[in-house]
C-alpha cells in the first residue's frame, strides 16, 4: 500500500537516464507535463523575441521616411516577426496547453506515445534554434544584379521574404544568400515537430480516454485539440512538400515556382495557403477551447450548447480547408474562383457565430466572477468579434481588392491572432496556473495586466484599420510624408509599448507568484472538469487511480445537484468527496509505473539541424554527422526495451 513511483530501469545497450531532478531530468523526460512546461517557456521566450522585433518595426514606422532601420533590416524584421509569432510562439504555446492538459482532461497517465512527444518538443527546439541561427550564419543581399549602398549587417541577414515567402521573390535570384534557406528548412523542421505531435494527440484522444469518457463527454478544450490535430495532420504535409520545392529551387536549380523553367509562382500561393488558412484556425481553435472552459467555470453554469460548440469547431476546421484562395483575391485567379472562394469564406462566419452566441448564452443568467482568466476570456470575445467581422469584410472580394496588402489586413489578423488567440492563451495561463504550480497568481497584478493589455492592444491595432483604408501598404519600410499617415502611426507605436509594459507586468506576476504565491487548493475555481480532481501541483502520476466518468462536466456533478428550479445546490457529501480525492491523489494506493526517461528523443532531434546545414552548405560531412545522430537516436530508440514488456519480465 505504499506509493511506488519508479521509472523502470533495466539493462539496454545504452544506460538509461535516471535523474529525477535537475537539468537531466528535463532533457530526458517523457512526462507530458514537463514537456508541456518546457514548450510553454520556450514559446514564451519566442513571443518576447517576436515582440521585440515588432517593437523595432514600430519604431521605424513611427515617422515617415524614417531611417532607424535599413530596408534589408526592416524586411528581415517583419519576416522574422511573423514567422516567429506564428510558428515559434502561438503554435507551441498551444502545444504546451495540449501537452499539459490533454491527458489530464481525458483521465490518462500520459499521451499515447510519450517518447514521440519528447521528440516533437526537441525537434521544435532545434528547429527554432536552427531558424534563429540565421542571425549568425545567414547571408542576404540585393537581388542578382542589384546594388546596395551599405552592408546588410547581422540584423538584416535573416530571412526577408515575408512569412509566406511568395515566389519568385523568395527564390535564389531575388533573395540571394542563405537566409531564405534557413527559413524554408527551419519551417520544414518545425513542421515535422507539429506533425508528430498531431499524430500523438489524435491517437491519444481516440485511444487513451478513461472509462466512461465518451466522445460527447470530453471537455471542449479536448475537442478543440482534436480538431487542431486534424488540421495539422492534413495541412502540414502540403507545406512540407511546397517547402521541399522551394529548397530544390534554391539549392538544386529546379524551377517549380520560377517561370524561367516553366514553373508557376501562383502554384506556390495555392500550396502555401492550402496550408496557411487551416493554419490560422490551428492558431485560434485552442483559444476557443480555453474560453469554452473558462466561461462556464466562472459563470457557474454549464456551457451553453455543448454539442453545437463542438460541431461548430469541426465545421470551422472542415470549411477552413476550402477557403484558402481568399488570400489570393487580387492574385491571378479567375472571377469564378474569386466568387467561389468569397462565398465559402463567408460561410465560415456561421459556425464561428454559433460559437460566439453560445458563449454569450453561457454567461447569460450566470453568476460571473470577473477575475483575470474570466476577463481575458470576455475580452477575447469582444476583440475576436472585431477581427472576425473585419475578416468578413475581406471576404467581399471587390472590397478586399482595396484592402489586401494594406494595414487593414494587418489590423484584421492582429485582432484575431492577438485579441483572439493570445487573449485566449493568457486566459488559460491564469486559469491553469494553480494546477501547474500549486500556487495562486496575484489577482491585482493580473487585472492590471489585463487592462493595460486591453488598452495597449486597441491603441496598437485599432488605428491600423484606418491606416489601411487610407492607403498604408503593408511591409513598407518607409511611407511618404504626403500620404499623411504619421499621426495614427505614432499612436500605434505608443500602443505597442503599452503592450510591452503589460507583458512585463505579466512576467512579474508569474515569477513572483510561482515563488511566493499563496498555496493553491486543488480545486480553486470550483471547476467542472476532471483535471481539477487531482492535487495542485499535478503529481507526476496524474491520477492515482483511473477516474470513471459518468457525465459531461463530471466533477461538477459530483459536487452539485440541481433543485427543482434547476439551480445548482451543493451536495451534502461534496466536502467529503473533495477530502477523499485529495487524500487519494497525494497517496495513491496502487502501484504506479511511468514511462521511463530517454536520451534518444533529443539525440534523434539533434540530427535534423545538421541535415539542414548540410543542405544549405551542400556539405557531405555535415550530412554524415546528421545521419549518424539520427541513426544513433533511431537505433537506441528501437532497441530501448519497451517499458511494459520488459517491466513485466523483470518485476512481477
Amino acid at each position: 500500500m505504499t506509493k511506488i513511483i519508479e521509472p523502470k530501469r533495466q539493462s539496454s545497450i545504452f544506460r538509461r537516464p535516471s535523474s529525477e531532478t535537475g537539468i537531466w531530468s528535463w532533457i530526458t523526460t517523457v512526462d507530458h507535463k514537463k514537456i508541456g512546461i518546457m514548450y510553454g517557456y520556450a514559446a514564451f521566450f519566442f513571443l518576447l523575441i517576436g515582440g521585440l522585433e515588432a517593437l523595432v518595426l514600430r519604431i521605424q514606422l513611427s515617422q515617415p521616411d524614417n531611417n532607424f532601420l535599413t530596408a534589408a533590416e526592416y524586411n528581415a524584421m517583419f519576416t522574422m516577426h511573423g514567422t516567429t509569432m506564428i510558428f515559434l510562439a502561438i503554435m507551441p504555446i498551444s502545444a504546451a496547453f495540449f501537452n499539459y492538459l490533454l491527458p489530464l482532461q481525458i483521465g490518462a497517465r500520459d499521451v499515447a506515445f510519450p517518447r514521440l512527444n519528447a521528440l516533437s518538443f526537441w525537434i521544435f527546439i532545434f528547429g527554432g534554434a536552427f531558424l534563429y541561427s540565421t542571425f549568425i550564419f545567414g547571408t542576404a543581399g540585393a537581388p542578382e544584379g542589384g546594388y546596395l549602398a551599405e552592408e546588410v549587417g547581422w540584423l538584416g541577414s535573416a530571412p526577408n521574404g515575408g512569412w509566406f515567402g511568395y515566389q519568385p521573390n523568395a527564390g535564389m535570384k531575388y533573395s540571394p544568400g542563405t537566409a531564405m534557406d534557413y527559413w524554408a528548412i527551419g519551417l520544414q523542421i518545425l513542421g515535422i515537430a507539429s506533425l508528430i505531435s498531431a499524430f500523438n494527440f489524435i491517437t491519444t484522444i481516440i485511444n487513451m480516454r478513461t472509462e466512461g469518457m465518451r466522445f460527447m463527454r470530453m471537455p471542449v478544450f479536448t475537442w478543440m485539440t482534436f480538431a487542431v490535430s486534424f488540421l495539422l495532420a492534413f495541412s502540414l504535409p502540403i507545406i512540407a512538400i511546397a517547402l521541399f520545392y522551394v529548397t530544390f529551387d534554391r539549392k538544386f536549380g529546379t524551377t517549380f515556382f520560377l517561370t524561367e523553367g516553366g514553373g508557376d509562382p501562383i502554384l506556390w500561393q495555392h500550396l502555401f495557403w492550402l496550408f496557411g488558412h487551416p493554419e490560422v484556425y490551428i492558431l485560434i481553435l485552442p483559444a476557443f477551447g480555453i474560453v469554452s472552459e473558462v466561461l462556464p467555470t466562472f459563470s457557474r453554469k454549464p456551457l451553453f450548447g455543448y454539442a453545437a460548440i463542438v460541431f461548430a469547431g469541426f465545421g470551422i476546421a472542415f470549411i477552413g480547408f476550402g477557403v484558402w484562395a481568399h488570400h489570393m483575391f487580387a492574385s491571378a485567379i479567375s472571377p469564378v474562383a474569386q466568387a467561389g472562394f468569397g462565398l465559402s469564406t463567408m460561410v465560415i462566419a456561421v459556425p464561428t457565430g454559433v460559437k460566439i452566441f453560445n458563449w454569450l448564452g453561457t454567461i447569460w443568467g450566470g453568476k460571473l466572477k470577473l477575475n483575470t482568466p474570466m476577463l481575458f476570456s470576455l475580452g477575447f470575445i469582444g476583440m475576436f468579434l472585431i477581427g472576425g467581422l473585419s475578416g468578413v469584410t475581406h471576404s467581399i472580394v471587390p472590397a478586399d481588392t482595396q484592402q489586401t496588402d494594406t494595414y487593414y489586413v494587418v489590423a484584421h489578423f492582429h485582432y484575431v491572432l492577438f485579441g483572439g488567440a493570445l487573449f485566449g492563451i493568457f486566459s488559460g495561463l491564469y486559469y491553469w496556473f494553480p494546477k501547474v504550480w500549486g500556487k495562486m497568481y496575484n489577482e491585482s497584478l493580473g487585472k492590471i495586466h489585463f487592462w493595460l493589455m486591453m488598452i495597449g492592444f486597441n491603441l496598437t491595432f485599432g488605428p491600423m484599420h484606418w491606416l489601411g483604408l487610407q492607403g498604408q501598404v503593408r511591409r513598407t519600410w518607409v511611407y511618404a510624408e504626403e500620404t499623411n499617415l504619421q499621426f495614427w502611426n505614432i499612436v500605434v507605436t505608443v500602443g505597442a509599448f503599452i503592450i510591452a509594459l503589460s507583458i512585463i507586468v505579466f512576467m512579474i506576476n508569474w515569477i513572483f507568484s510561482k515563488r511566493n504565491g499563496e498555496k493553491a487548493p486543488f480545486d480553486p475555481w470550483d471547476a467542472r472538469t476532471i483535471e481539477w480532481t487531482i492535487p495542485s501541483p499535478t503529481p507526476v502520476w496524474n491520477f492515482s487511480k483511473a477516474p470513471i466518468v459518468k457525465s459531461l462536466d463530471d466533477f461538477w456533478h459530483t459536487k452539485y445537484s440541481e433543485d427543482e428550479e434547476g439551480r445548482a445546490v451543493k451536495r451534502a457529501e461534496a466536502d467529503q468527496i473533495l477530502l477523499d480525492l485529495e487524500e487519494e491523489g497525494l497517496n495513491p494506493s496502487e502501484h504506479i509505473e511511468l514511462p521511463s526517461p530517454s536520451y534518444f528523443p533529443i539525440v534523434l532531434a539533434s540530427g535534423l539541424p545538421f541535415l539542414g546545414y548540410a543542405v544549405i552548405y551542400k556539405s557531405i560531412p555535415l550530412a554524415l554527422i546528421g545521419s549518424i545522430l539520427l541513426l544513433i537516436g533511431g537505433f537506441g530508440w528501437g532497441t530501448e526495451p519497451l517499458e511494459e514488456e520488459a517491466f513485466e519480465d523483470s518485476h512481477e
Binding site: 534589408a72 487580387a330 468569397g342 456561421v350 467581399i396 481588392t401 492607403g471
Partner: protein
C-alpha cells in the same frame, strides 16, 4: 470594472471608426462639400485613400464596402452590446443566487445559425455581381500594357507605339483596360481611387480596368511585397481631357533630337552615351536599340514630374542624389553607381532637362 470595460470598448469603437462614421453620415446626406471642410485633413491629404473613389469601378467597390461595413457595425453593436449587458447584469454580487443550470436551447441554436446565413446571402448577391462586373472587359476601352519591374512600373500603349514609365497617362471619363505582367517578381498594381489591386505575375497576364471621372492626378502604389525597395515602388496616374490626351500622345510619339551644339546639355548627352547609360536606358532618336531594355525609357523624361518609381520628385537636387548613388535612395536597385563626377552629373541633369 464594468465601466472601465465599457469605456475602453467605446473608445475603441470611436478610435476605430470616427472618421469613417462622420464621413459616412455626411455622405448619406450627400453634403460632400461639408466633408471637404470638416475632414479636409483626412481626405485631401491622403492620396492613397481607398474611401474616396474617383471613378465608377472604385465607386462600385466603395458602395459594397459601406454596405458590409454597416452590416458589420450593426452586428458588432448587437453582439458587443449583449456581451457588455450580460457582464453588467450578471456580474457576481453578494446576493446573487446560484444560476439556473441551462444546457442549451435548440430553437435559439437554429435561430442564430439561420440569421447569419440570411445576412450573408444578402451580402453575397451584390458581391458576386460586382466581381464579374469588375472583371468584364469594357467596350471600346483603351488598351495599355503594364509591366512590373523591381521597382518601377513600365507602360506601353500598343495602339500608339508609346513606351513610358512611372506615370500612367489616361484619357478621363473613358474605360481603360490594363494588361499586366511582371518582368521579375510579383507586384501588385493599385490606384486606390480608381480600382482595387491586381497582381502582376511573371509568365501570366492579368487584367485590370480603370476609369477616372475627370482630369486629375492619382497616386499608385505597389501592394505586394517585392523585395528591398517595395515601399518605394510607387506611381502616378494622370487623367487628361480627351484633347490633352491626344496632345500628349502626339508629343510622346516624337523622338528626341540629337544635340549637336556646345551647350552643357550636349555635354550631358556625351556623358550619357559614354558612361554606360545606354546599356540599360533608351532615348528614342538618340540611341536606338532593338528590343527591350531593363530600365525606364528616358525619351520624355523631363515632362514626368516624378521619377525612380515615383519615389522622387523630378528636380535638380533629387536627380543629382539619384545619379550620384541610386542605391542610397532605392536599396537593391539595378542602376549602378557609375562614379560620376559632379560635373558629369550637372551635365547629365542639364541634358535630362531637355528631354521634353
Amino acid at each position: 470594472m464594468i465601466t472601465l470595460y465599457m469605456v475602453s470598448a467605446l473608445s475603441l469603437i470611436i478610435v476605430d471608426n470616427i472618421n469613417m462614421l462622420v464621413k459616412n453620415i455626411i455622405k448619406l446626406k450627400n453634403l460632400r462639400f461639408l466633408a471637404l471642410i470638416f475632414l479636409s485633413a483626412c481626405i485631401e491629404n491622403a492620396p492613397l485613400d481607398s474611401l474616396s473613389p474617383e471613378g465608377p469601378y472604385a465607386r462600385s467597390i466603395d458602395e459594397l464596402f459601406w454596405l458590409t461595413f454597416w452590416i458589420a457595425v450593426v452586428i458588432f453593436v448587437i453582439v458587443q452590446g449583449a456581451l457588455l449587458l450580460s457582464i453588467f447584469v450578471f456580474k457576481e454580487k453578494p446576493d446573487s443566487p446560484e444560476p439556473k443550470q441551462i444546457h442549451g436551447n435548440t430553437k435559439l441554436e437554429i435561430l442564430w445559425t439561420i440569421i447569419p446565413v440570411i445576412i450573408l446571402a444578402v451580402i453575397a448577391v451584390p458581391t458576386v455581381r460586382t466581381i464579374f462586373d469588375l472583371a468584364n472587359e469594357p467596350e471600346d476601352a483603351l488598351k495599355i500594357e503594364v509591366i512590373g519591374h523591381q521597382w518601377w512600373f513600365e507602360y506601353k500603349y500598343p495602339d500608339y507605339g508609346i513606351t513610358t514609365a512611372n506615370i500612367l497617362v489616361i484619357p478621363a471619363d473613358r474605360p481603360i483596360r490594363l494588361e499586366m505582367w511582371s518582368n521579375d517578381v510579383l507586384h501588385n498594381y493599385w490606384v486606390p481611387k480608381l480600382n482595387g489591386k491586381r497582381y502582376l505575375v511573371p509568365g501570366q497576364t492579368t487584367y485590370l480596368n480603370l476609369h477616372a471621372d475627370s482630369p486629375d492626378e492619382f497616386w499608385a502604389q505597389c501592394g505586394e511585397y517585392c523585395g528591398l525597395s517595395h515601399s518605394k515602388m510607387r506611381g502616378r496616374v494622370l487623367s487628361l481631357s480627351e484633347n490633352d490626351f491626344q496632345l500628349w500622345v502626339k508629343d510622346q510619339q516624337r523622338n528626341a533630337v540629337k544635340l549637336e551644339d556646345n551647350s552643357l546639355a550636349a555635354e550631358g548627352q556625351q556623358v550619357y552615351l559614354n558612361a554606360g547609360c545606354t546599356q540599360c536606358h533608351v532615348i528614342d532618336g538618340v540611341w536606338d536599340v532593338q528590343g527591350d531594355r531593363i530600365a525606364p525609357n528616358l525619351t520624355h523624361f523631363a515632362i514626368r514630374n516624378v521619377f525612380a518609381g515615383a519615389a522622387l520628385y523630378n528636380n535638380r537636387e533629387n536627380l543629382s542624389k539619384w545619379l550620384a548613388n541610386p542605391a542610397e535612395i532605392k536599396p537593391g536597385t539595378f542602376m549602378p553607381n557609375l562614379e560620376l563626377t559632379e560635373a558629369e552629373i550637372n551635365a547629365l541633369i542639364a541634358y535630362l532637362g531637355t528631354l521634353k
